[in-house]
Amino acid sequence: MTRRPDASARRGMRLADLAGVAPPMVLFCLFIIVPMAAAIVLSFVRWNGLGPPVWAGGSNWAEFFRDPVARTSVVVTAKVVAASYVVQTPISMALGLFTAGRGGYRSVYATIYVLPLLLSTAGIALMWESLLDPNFGALSALSRSWHLAALQQNWLGSPGLTLYVIVAIIAWQFIPFHTLLYAVGRREIPAVLYEAARLDGASPARIFWRVTLPQLRYTIVTSGILMIVGSLTYFDIIYILTDGGPGYTTRVLSLDMYNVAFVQDQYGYASVLAVILGAIGIAVAVGLVRFSGFASMASQQEGAA
C-alpha cells in the first residue's frame, strides 16, 4: 500500500518545518551569520563608531602586515597554542586513563579533578592573581617558610616568564575537561581487546601502544581540535591577569583585537584581526579533520553501529 500525502498533510509538514527550524535559524543568522558577514565588510572601512564609516579599500589589510604589535600577537598566540597542546594532551590522557580504571579511590579522585570546571574563568584568574602576588601571595609565603628562592618571582610581571605562567593557569582550567573526554574514550574501548592482548602475553606498555592509543584516535582528534581552537581564542584569563603585559609579551591576537576595537575605537582594523582570527579557527578545524581522516573514521563508526 502506498500512501500519498494529500495537500493538507503537506501543508502540515511545511508548517511544522517552519515552526521547528525558522526560530533557531533566525536567531542564529541574525546574531552569528550576519555579524560574520559584517565583519568582512567592516574590514574594508575606516570607522571609529561615531561618524559615518569611510571606505578604506585594502588599507586596513595592508596595515596588518606593517603593524609590529599584530605580528607580535600572532607569534604570542602561536606560542600559547603550541605550549597548551604540548602541556595539556599528555596530562589529560594520563589522568583520563587513570580515572577510567576501576578502584574505589579513583572515582573520588575523578570527582575532585572536575572541580576547576565549575569555576568561571574570571574566578580562576582572580584566584591565581592573589595566589601569585609577589608580596602577599601564597607562593611567596611558601618561598619564605621553605627557603625556596625559586618560588619568589614576579610571576605576572616578568617578560620571559609570564606567558608560561598563563599557559599553566590555562592548563589548570582545561585539563579537567579533557580528562573527562579521555575517560569517556577509554571506557568505550571494548574489554575484549584487552583480554585478547593479555592472553597473547603482551606487556602493559605494548598494550598501551597497540590497543589503547589506536582505539583513542577519535578522542585524541576531538580533544586536539577543541584544545587548539580553544587556545586560539583565549581571552578572559589574559585580559584580567596581564592585559597583554608586561610590554606586549602576553598580547594574544584576540586581546589585540579587543584593544584595537574597544580601546582605540578602530572598528575597521579590528575587523581585519577578527576575520583573521575566524579564518585561522576555521582553517585549523577543517585541516585537522582532513589530516586525521576524522570523517572516514566517523563513517566507519556509523557502519559498525
Binding site: 527550524v21 535559524m25 546574531f31 551569520i33 565583519a39 601564597a138 611558601l142
Partner: protein
C-alpha cells in the same frame, strides 16, 4: 590479595600530585576568604591559624554580589530554556528531512560550529547597540542562545536520529499530527539528553565573560564573572572580599554538581565526544 605492581604505585603517586595541584589553590582561596583585610596580610596563607572571620562574605553582599547572582541566574535559566526548545524542535524537523530548506539550514548551523565569538564581537556590538539593546540582559540572552545553537542542534540531531523511524511511522499511521509526535514521543525520549545539554550550555553561559564585557556596562545588569572583576576594581586591596565573591559565585554550581554528580560525570564528556 592482589599484588600491587610498580606501575600502580607510580600511577597513584602522579595522580596524587595532580590532586594536590587541583586542591591547593582552592584550599588557599577558601582560607583567604575567611580572613579580614588585616589578618590576610599577617597570617600564614596556608594555615588556618591567626584568626578567621566571615566578615568578607557580608562585605561582598553589600557591594552588589546579590544583584550579580540574580542576573546570572536569570540569564542562565533563560538561555537554557531557549536552547532546549529551539534545538529540539529544529533537530526533529532536520531528522524528518522533509524539505531542502531544512537540510540547508542544518548545514548553515553546522558552519557556525567553527566561528569563534571573538571573530564577530565587533559587528555584534554595533548590532546590539543599533537595536537599542546595549546594556540589557536581553542582549546577552539573545546572543548567548544564538551562540549555543550549533552545538545544541548537532547533539540533538545525533540523538533524535537514533529514535527508531518505525515508532514515528506508527504514530503517523494512527493519525497523529507532527506536533503530537513531537509532544508525545520526541520530547519525553529526549529529556535525559536535554538535561545533559542544559548542564553543558548552562556552564558556558554562567561563566561567559567576553559578551557581558562588551555588551553591558552598568552594575545593574552585570553578571557574576564580570561582577567579580568589578568587585576587584572596588576592593583591589581587599583580597578576602574578592575570594569570598569568587566562592559565592561557584556555590550554586557546586550544589547542583553534588546533587547531580553522576549525571555530570557520565554525560559531560559524552555530550562533546559525539
Amino acid at each position: 590479595m592482589r599484588k600491587v605492581g610498580p606501575g600502580r604505585v607510580i600511577a597513584f603517586v602522579l595522580a596524587t600530585v595532580w590532586l594536590v595541584i587541583v586542591i591547593a589553590p582552592l584550599y588557599y582561596m577558601i582560607l583567604a576568604s575567611f580572613r579580614t583585610q588585616g589578618t590576610y596580610l599577617t597570617a600564614n596563607p596556608w594555615l588556618p591559624s591567626g584568626g578567621l572571620s566571615v566578615s568578607s562574605y557580608g562585605t561582598v553582599f553589600g557591594a552588589g554580589l546579590d544583584r550579580y547572582l540574580l542576573n546570572s541566574v536569570l540569564l542562565t535559566v533563560a538561555c537554557i530554556a531557549a536552547t532546549v526548545t529551539l534545538s529540539l524542535g529544529a533537530a526533529f524537523r532536520i531528522v524528518r528531512r522533509t524539505s531542502r530548506a531544512v537540510s540547508v539550514s542544518f548545514v548553515v548551523m553546522l558552519f557556525g560550529l567553527a566561528i569563534p565569538v571573538q571573530a564577530i564581537i565587533v559587528p555584534l556590538y554595533v548590532l546590539i547597540y543599533k537595536m537599542h539593546l546595549y546594556d540589557t540582559l536581553f542582549a546577552l540572552i539573545l546572543t548567548l542562545s544564538a551562540a549555543a545553537i550549533p552545538v545544541s542542534v548537532l547533539i540533538m540531531v545525533s540523538f533524535v536520529r537514533d529514535i527508531p523511524r518505525e515508532m514515528i511511522g506508527a504514530m503517523l499511521v494512527d493519525g497523529a499530527s507532527e506536533w503530537t509526535v513531537f509532544r508525545r514521543l520526541i520530547w519525553p525520549l529526549s529529556r535525559p539528553v536535554l538535561a545533559t545539554l542544559s548542564i553543558y550550555n548552562g556552564l558556558n553561559v554562567w561563566n561567559n565573560f567576553l559578551l557581558p564585557l562588551v555588551l553591558t556596562q552598568s552594575s545593574g545588569v552585570a553578571v557574576l564573572p564580570l561582577g567579580l572583576t568589578k568587585l576587584e576594581g572596588l576592593y583591589s586591596v581587599n583580597v578576602p572580599a574578592v575570594m569570598a565573591g569568587v566562592l559565592l559565585s561557584v556555590l550554586p554550581l557546586l550544589v547542583l554538581f553534588v546533587l547531580m554528580r553522576r549525571q555530570v560525570m557520565n554525560s559531560l564528556g559524552k555530550a562533546i565526544a559525539r
